[in-house]
C-alpha cells in the first residue's frame, strides 16, 4: 500500500511543471559545475603543478642547507610547507580562494654592525626559523562568494524540495482527495511515509542523473584524477545529498500538514529556507565575532614589538653598545658567548612563535565557534559535511596547521638527536656555532607528510541524521493531528 501511494505521488510529481523546471535546471547546474572546475587552465592541474614545484623546492632547500652542516640547517629550518590541493574541490569549494595554501617560514637576517667594529666582535647572523601564518592574498577578487559547487547545488535542491512539498498535504486537502485517501484502511503514518518516499524518489533520481553527467564530463576531461578513495567519498557525498533532501521533505510535510492552505505553507517554508540557507549561517557567524572578540591586530603587533624590544634591550641595547652582553661572537671555542647567543635567539623565537601561534589559534577558535553555532542550520551541516569529505574549507586548514606544528617538533627533535651523535659539537641549541658543523645526509631529514582525515565530517553527519529524526517526528505528529477538511 505504501508503495502504491508513493507511486501515485511520483506519477503526479512527474506531470507537474516544477518537475520540468527542475529537470532543466539541474543538469545545467551540474554541467556548469563540471565546466568551471574541470576545464580551464587554472584548475586542479595548475594547483598540483604548483604544489609539486613547492615540494621540490623544499627538498632542494633541505639538500642545500644540509650540506652546509647541521647548525646551518637548524637555523634555516625547512622551506615553505604547501598544503595538498583538494581533488574534490568541485564538490565542496569551501571558499578555497580565501584559505591559505601554505605555511611559510619566517627568518630574519642581520647584517654585521660595522659602526661598532672596535667595540664588538663582528658577527652576522640569521635568526631561528619560525612558522608564519600568512592569510591568503586574494587580491580583492572574491566578491562572488557563492560558488557553483555540489554543496551549492545541494542547497538549491532544497529549494526545489520546498516547491515539491509545500502542497503535498495542503493541496490534497484543498482538492478533497485527502479525505478520500484517508477513508481507506491505511494508517496515517504510512500515508505520510509513502508521500515522503514518493517525493524523495522524484528528487533523487534526477539528481543522480545530474551527478553522473557531471562526473562523466570531469572524468573525460582528464584534468582531475580519481582513485578508489575519491570514488568512496563521492558516494558518501551522494548520501549527504539524500540526507539533506530528506530533511527538507519532512520540513515541507510538516508545514504542509500544519497549515490550512498551501500558500501559507509555502510562505513559511520559503522564509525558513532563506533563513537556513543564507541568513543564519552567515549572520550568526558574523555575530559570534562580536560575542567573543579577540584582541585587535594592532594590539598584538604592539605587544610583540614590546616583548622583542625588551629582549633586545636586555641583550644588546641599541643605545649603549658598551653594555651589550653579546659583544663576543659565538664560536666553537667560546661556549659561554655561544650560550648567551643561544638564550637570546631562544627567547626571541619563543616570543615570535608564541604570539604567532596564539594569534592564529584565537582566530581559528573563533571560526570554530561560529561553525559550531551555525550547525543549527541543516544546510550549514550539509555544507560542512561536504567540506569534510572533500577535505576543503577552513577545517582542513586547521588540520593542516596542527600537522605542520607536529612536523616542527619532529624537525627540532631530529636536529637535537642528530647533534647528540657528534662528539665535537657544543650541544647548544639554537645557535649555528653551538651545534654540529658536519653536513647531514638530506635523506635522513624528516619531510612533512600531510595526512588527510575526514573526521570533521562525522559531527555534522550525526547532526544531519538527528535533524532527519527530529523533523520526521515533527511531520508525523503534525500529520496525525491535522484536520482533513
Amino acid at each position: 500500500m505504501i508503495w502504491h501511494i508513493a507511486k501515485k505521488e511520483i506519477y503526479y510529481n512527474l506531470m507537474t511543471q516544477r518537475f520540468v523546471l527542475m529537470i532543466i535546471l539541474l543538469p545545467i547546474l551540474m554541467i556548469a559545475n563540471a565546466l568551471i572546475y574541470g576545464f580551464g587552465d587554472n584548475g586542479y592541474t595548475a594547483e598540483i603543478r604548483d604544489y609539486n614545484r613547492k615540494v621540490n623546492q623544499g627538498r632542494s632547500h633541505i639538500e642545500k642547507y644540509a650540506a652546509q652542516g647541521l647548525g646551518e640547517l637548524a637555523m634555516v629550518g625547512p622551506a615553505e610547507i604547501p598544503k595538498h590541493p583538494p581533488q574534490l574541490k568541485f564538490c565542496a569549494d569551501g571558499t578555497d580562494a580565501l584559505i591559505p595554501h601554505s605555511i611559510t617560514i619566517a627568518y630574519r637576517i642581520n647584517w654585521e654592525r660595522p659602526e661598532y667594529e672596535d667595540l664588538v666582535e663582528s658577527y652576522s647572523w640569521r635568526e631561528l626559523w619560525s612558522l608564519e601564518y600568512l592569510p591568503s592574498n586574494h587580491g580583492g577578487d572574491a566578491t562572488t562568494l557563492i560558488k557553483i559547487d555540489w554543496a551549492f547545488i545541494g542547497v538549491f535542491m532544497s529549494f526545489f524540495v520546498i516547491l515539491f512539498t509545500f502542497d503535498a498535504i495542503a493541496g490534497e486537502r484543498v482538492r478533497g482527495t485527502l479525505s478520500l485517501m484517508m477513508s481507506n484502511p491505511i494508517p496515517r503514518g504510512q500515508v505520510l511515509f509513502a508521500k515522503y518516499l514518493g517525493t524523495f524518489f522524484t528528487l533523487i533520481i534526477p539528481l543522480l542523473i545530474g551527478v553522473l553527467m557531471n562526473l562523466l564530463i570531469i572524468y573525460l576531461s582528464g584534468n582531475i584524477p580519481f582513485d578508489s578513495d575519491s570514488w568512496l567519498r563521492i558516494l558518501g557525498m551522494i548520501g549527504l545529498f539524500a540526507l539533506h533532501i530528506s530533511i527538507f521533505i519532512f520540513l515541507g510535510l510538516f508545514f504542509s500538514s500544519r497549515v490550512s492552505n498551501a500558500i501559507t505553507s509555502l510562505v513559511w517554508l520559503l522564509l525558513t529556507w532563506v533563513c537556513l540557507a543564507f541568513i543564519f549561517p552567515s549572520l550568526l557567524g558574523l555575530f559570534v565575532g562580536t560575542l567573543d572578540p579577540i584582541p585587535s591586530i594592532e594590539r598584538i603587533s604592539a605587544e610583540k614589538r614590546l616583548q622583542l624590544a625588551n629582549i633586545d634591550d636586555e641583550f644588546r641595547p641599541a643605545a649603549l653598545v658598551e653594555a651589550t652582553k653579546l659583544s663576543e661572537a659565538p664560536s666553537v671555542d667560546n661556549p659561554s658567548a655561544t650560550r648567551l647567543w643561544a638564550t637570546y635567539f631562544g627567547e626571541r623565537s619563543e616570543v615570535q612563535t608564541g604570539i604567532a601561534d596564539a594569534r592564529v589559534d584565537q582566530q581559528l577558535r573563533q571560526v570554530q565557534l561560529t561553525r559550531e553555532l551555525t550547525q543549527i542550520s541543516p544546510t550549514a551541516c550539509f555544507q560542512y559535511a561536504m567540506e569534510g569529505l572533500a577535505n576543503t574549507g577552513i577545517v582542513s586548514y586547521m588540520d593542516f596547521v596542527k600537522q605542520v606544528r607536529r612536523y616542527r617538533n619532529t624537525f627540532i627533535d631530529f636536529i637535537k638527536t642528530e647533534d647528540k651523535s657528534d662528539p665535537h659539537s657544543l650541544h647548544i641549541y639554537p645557535v649555528r656555532e653551538g651545534l654540529s658543523q658536519k653536513p647531514v645526509d638530506p635523506e635522513t631529514v624528516p619531510i612533512f607528510k600531510e595526512r588527510i582525515s575526514h573526521q570533521s565530517a562525522i559531527f555534522p553527519l550525526g547532526l544531519l541524521i538527528l535533524y532527519n529524526v527530529l523533523f520526521f517526528i515533527a511531520a508525523q505528529l503534525s500529520f496525525l493531528k491535522c484536520d482533513l477538511k
Partner: protein
Amino acid sequence: MATLWLVIQREFVSNVLTSRFMIGFLICLMSTAAAVFVQVEDYEKRLAAYHTAVQEHQETAQTWDLYSQINPKAHRKPNPLSIFNVGMEKSGADMVSIQLATPIWEKEAQKQGSDNPFFSILLAIDAIFVFKIILSALAILFAYNTISGEHEDGTLKLVLSNPIPRDTLVIGKYLGGMLSLFPMVVISFIIGILIAYASPATDFNSADLFRLVAVLILSLLYVSTCYLLGMLLSVWTKEATTALILSMFIWGLLTILYSNIATFAVMKFPPYQLQAEKEILQHIQQRWEDFREERDAYILKKWGYEHPASAVTPISEGNFLVAMYTSSPEEIGYSEFYYIKQIHIVDVSKFQEVLGYQEPLRIDYANQAGALLKQREQAEERNRQLAKDISRFSFADAYRFAVGAITDTDRESYQDFIGGARSYKRQVVDYLSGKNAFSARAWFSSDQGAAAFKDLPVFQNPHTSLFQSLSRASSDILILLAWNIVLFIAAYVSFLRYEMD
C-alpha cells in the same frame, strides 16, 4: 478616481490581513536589524584600525631622516555607508605602500585592519542583501495570486461585473500591493538607520543621508519590479499555484544563480586574454635590466664613471659599506642602497649629481613597469565589466550595482582608491623634485642636516560627489525602470486581453 481608491484599499486590506504579511514583515525587520547591527560593529573596528594605522604611519614618518627613506602610505578610509552595503569594502586592500621605485600594483596592496581574516569565508550579509533576497520573495508572494487567485475563487468575475474599467483594476491592484509593501521597506530601513546612528562611530553627513534616501527609493523600485513580475505571471497563468512556482523559480534564478554563473563563466573563459603574470614579471625584469644599461651608459659618457658608486672620491675600498641591489624575479621594484661609511672625509658632490640624474630615471622606469601591470589590470577589469554587463540583465543585480554606485562601495570606488594612490605617488615625486631632493646630500646622509618632510602632501581619500555616484548608477537605474515599464505594460495589456471563461 473613487473606484481606483476603492480597489487600492481592498487590495491593501486583503494583503495586510494575511499571515504572509505578518511573517514577512517580522523576518524582514529582524534580519535587517541583525545585519545592520553586525555591520556597525564591523565598521567601528575598521574605523579604529584605520585611525591607528594612520597615526602609526605619522609616527614612522617622523623618524625618516633621509629623503631616500621616504615611504608614504595611502590608507583607505572606511565608508560609513558600507554598514548598509558592504560591497568591495571588506574584500579589497586598504593600504597602499608607496615606494618610489616600485610600481603600484593592486595585488601587492595590503589588507589589514581585519582582526580575523578567516571571517571573510562567511557571506557578508548586509541590509541590501536582505532586501535583495527577502523583499523580492515577499513582493512575489504578494503578487502571484492577485489575478489568478481571484480567478480561482471566482471573485474576479464578480469584480469585473461591476462598472470598473479593467485598467483601473490593474492599476489599483498594483498600487494596493505596493502600498502594503511600502511600510515594510520603509520601516526596516528606518530601523536600520536608527541602529547605525546609535553607534558613536557613525557620523552621517547630509550627503550620506541623501544617498540613503536614494537607496530607499531604489529599493522601492526594485520591490515594484518583483511585484510586477509576480503580477504578470498571475495574469498569464490560470492557476495560482502555477504562478507561484513559476515566479519562485524565476526569483531563484535571477537573485541567486544568474549572476554567479555569468561571473564564473567569464572569469573561467575570459574573452579578453590576460597576459600570464609570470610573463609580465619577466618583462619588468627586462625593464630593470634596460634601466641599468641606460644609466651605466649615460654615467660613463657624461662623467666617465663605471658605476654610480665611483662618483665618490677619493675611491677607496672602505668608502662604501653596503651597495645592495634587489630586483629578484618576485620583486617588481628595483632598489639600490648605498651606505657611505666615511662620509666626512670623502667628496660626494659628483655622487649627488649622479643621483640627481639616476633617481628620476629610476622612478620613470618604475612608472613604465607600472604601465605594464596596469595593462593587465585593465584586461582583467574589462572581463569583470563584461561579467557585470551580463549580470545586469537580472534586475536583482541591476539593483545591487545601482546601490553599490550610490553608496560608493562598489568596484569602481575601490579602483578610485587605487588610482588615488597612484596620483598621490605622482604628488610625492613632484614634491621631491620640487625640493631638489634627489641631488640633495640628505638623500643618503643626514650628517649635514636631516631631510625635512615638512609639507609633504598627505593622502586624501578620493571623494565621489553625489552627482558622480548618481551618474554611475544611472544605467542600472534605467535598467530597473525599463524592467518596471516593460513588466507593467505587459501585465496591463495581458489583463486587458484576459479572457474570462
